[in-house]
């Protein structure tokens, strides 16, 4: 070895043979440990295989039956596969329901999360709110839907849906289903925001208070901006939950496949309709339509929407301090103009 001098630049590494630790061998392990080790591998790979199978199978089936025209034609009451139209109405319905549900769940959920994390007084009320949220998160959506139908067909809530000629309130509409979806998704939004707020160091709050800022100013201008990514992720998760739910739609949005607007936007909201989930159920062999080619095509579209939402959640929650670095730094090239 030569000591580095001005002539001989500092060597890039040792001139001795380099040893790197290899993968740990399981040969010396007890049989039981080895068994569990391989079982872990098998389950992990198995899960990936199942996920890939579902996605690929639906993609193959979906692409086989999906025609672009289906995205823009309404379902028609025909027996034949050719005559039964597309699923334009369910796509619109999906977006309307997601919009209503998210618009309710996100602000309410964030409000609850902020209250739980920053105020939470008196203590008994905070504990009650927490267990109420846990209960709500555990209620099956079909139970929630049935309860909703019971509540929304009361006379004083008649403005949310349509009334029959005899004066009975149906309780089924985009509005009522959207409200139920909001209740369904609220616990998710609370969880995402509450966890993020709880993880913020208390010195942020102290620092803001020490500048003479009120609690509400601190929340609005320091805490909520700091958890922006988690809030957005919570919102996207809520959307995913709403997009995928079927029970609330079948019970609270009517069993049909067509949107039945009775005049204008408000009429649409008060009327019944369909979403992709209820359409898939309707067209599946279990439903009345029994047009499984349409079901596959719609399922593929639904899967795309859900995957896109998941991707959006990952993209929002990504570590921006890393993401903003130049892609070249991954290769160890930290050039002046890429910094």
């Amino acid at each position: 070895m030569v000591a580095p001098t001005a002539d001989a630049p500092i060597s890039r590494g040792p001139s001795l043979p380099i040893a790197r630790p290899g993968r740990e061998s399981t040969r010396s392990w007890p049989l039981l440990d080895r068994g569990f080790y391989w079982a872990c591998w098998a389950t992990g790979i198995g899960l990936c295989l199942i996920a890939a199978w579902v996605v690929l199978y639906m993609m193959v089936k979906g692409l086989a039956f999906l025609e672009p025209s289906m995205l823009v034609t309404s379902p028609k009451p025909e027996i034949t596969q050719q005559g039964s139209g597309g699923f334009f109405d369910p796509i619109v319905g999906t977006f309307v329901i997601v919009a209503i549900g998210t618009a309710l769940a996100v602000p309410i959920g964030m409000g609850i999360a902020v209250w739980l994390s920053e105020y939470a007084r008196p203590g008994w009320l905070a504990r009650t709110v927490e267990s109420a949220l846990e209960t709500l998160a555990g209620v099956p959506s079909v139970v929630l839907a049935l309860f909703g139908l019971l509540v929304f067909s009361r006379g004083f809530l008649g403005f949310l849906s349509e009334s029959s000629v005899s004066g009975g309130v149906t309780g089924t509409s985009f509005l009522t289903a959207g409200v139920a979806m909001g209740v369904l998704a609220t616990p998710l939004v609370v969880a995402a925001n509450y966890e993020a707020l709880a993880l913020l160091p208390s010195r942020l709050r102290e620092g803001s208070h020490a500048l003479g800022k009120t609690r509400i100013t601190t929340i609005r201008y320091v805490l909520l901006p700091a958890i922006r990514a988690s809030s957005a992720t919570g919102g996207v998760l809520a959307m995913g939950r709403i997009v995928g739910d079927t029970a609330i739609i079948t019970i609270l949005l009517g069993g049909g496949v067509n949107t039945e607007p009775n005049g204008g936007f408000l009429g649409l909201l008060r009327g019944t309709g369909a979403t992709l989930t209820s359409y898939i159920f309707y067209e599946s062999p279990a439903g009345e339509g029994n047009s499984h080619e349409k079901a596959y095509a719609a399922a593929f579209v639904l899967l795309l929407i859900v995957l896109a939402l998941n991707g959006l959640a990952v993209w929002i929650a990504r570590d921006r301090s890393v993401a903003r670095r130049s892609i070249w730094s991954a290769f160890g090239w930290d050039l002046p103009w890429t910094r």
Binding site: L204, E206, G207, H209, G212, K213, T214, T217, Y221, V222
Partner: protein, 316 residues
């Protein structure tokens, strides 16, 4: 306490470590191979003494805050007992003492930050310009008596926004970024950064996230943020304990230069730092104020045995 005795026999004069006389290690008694070692000190005056000597004179010293028999407790535990002190503009007051002596609690009581903690209780009076701080509106009090913490705590936003946030009374001066950069606000932000000695380093990109600054820069940003609110009293809770020596020196010089404009109270574990920056020093022990006086007096001629032990013990 033996204070009667103390007044009769003055304690030996002690210089702080950096300008003490060279120490001679005891000569080895056995043949253990070690020769006599002479630890020599540099002959030129220490940085502490130089910084102290070079401190700019202050035109006027004015009483701002008064603590009268202040008691503070968390739950049933009284952590500050019967402390009376004066905070003056034009001066740096250093609170020294071992961990758990109540320094930080006392500091936080000056702008009522103790109230954030559940179960905090108090007795006695704290006044700002003669007014009881508990009769003032808490947020306006905290704008007048601002605080910088031990851990740098910039908000997760840009450098500019960090300072702009504290400029306005509540919501930062105008919500949207474009409007926020009005010339007056920009001027005020730059002014605050300049006073904290940070502007030259960050002038190129005020939009950079504050969390990407170094620790020392973050702490100076926190000082800039505190200064932007134009406080009358600045509370510093061990502002340098998380910083390297160079950042520490920068902040110490900053503290000394700021003292003509604001009253400064600093809590520190670093006695040399207290000697470098403070005009008055208060030594606390187990919640009690043991000794209060001019820095030279407390460090060189402490009247209390406990002070003498602490000051000398910490210097070896």
């Amino acid at each position: 306490m033996g204070s009667a005795l103390d007044s009769l026999t003055p304690p030996p004069i002690r210089r702080i470590a950096l300008d003490r006389a060279p120490t001679v290690a005891p000569a080895p008694t056995g043949g253990n191979g070690h020769g006599a070692t002479v630890v020599s000190e540099p002959s030129q005056p220490s940085r502490a003494a130089r910084l102290r000597a070079s401190r700019p004179p202050v035109a006027s010293v004015r009483e701002r805050m008064q603590l009268e028999s202040v008691w503070l407790a968390y739950g049933e535990n009284w952590v500050v007992r019967d402390v009376s002190l004066t905070v003056r503009e034009g001066e740096v007051l250093a609170l020294i003492g071992a961990s758990g002596s109540g320094k930080t609690t006392l500091l936080r009581s000056l702008n009522r930050l103790t109230e954030i903690t559940e179960g905090a209780a108090r007795a006695g009076r704290v006044t700002l310009d003669g007014e009881d701080v508990h009769s003032l509106e808490v947020n306006s009090l905290r704008r007048r008596v601002s605080m910088v913490f031990q851990q740098p705590n910039p908000f997760p936003m840009s450098i500019f926004d960090n300072v702009a946030y504290s400029l306005a009374e509540q919501s930062p001066a105008r919500g949207r970024r474009r409007r926020r950069r009005s010339p007056e606000i920009e001027q005020a932000v730059i002014e605050a950064l300049r006073r904290a000695g940070l502007y030259e380093e960050v002038a190129g990109d005020l939009g950079r996230p504050a969390l990407r600054l170094s620790g020392g820069q973050q702490q100076r940003l926190c000082i800039a943020r505190a200064l932007a609110a134009k406080p009358e009293v600045l509370l510093l809770d061990e502002p340098c304990s998380a910083l390297d020596p160079i950042s520490t020196a920068t902040i110490e010089e900053l503290i000394v230069s700021l003292r003509s404009q604001v009253a400064i109270v600093i809590v520190t574990h670093n006695l040399q730092q207290a000697f470098r920056v403070a005009d008055h020093v208060a030594f606390m022990h187990l919640g009690e104020l043991v000794e209060y006086g001019a820095a030279e007096q407390v460090f060189d001629r402490p009247t209390q045995e406990r002070t003498r032990e602490y000051v000398s013990g910490a210097f070896g």
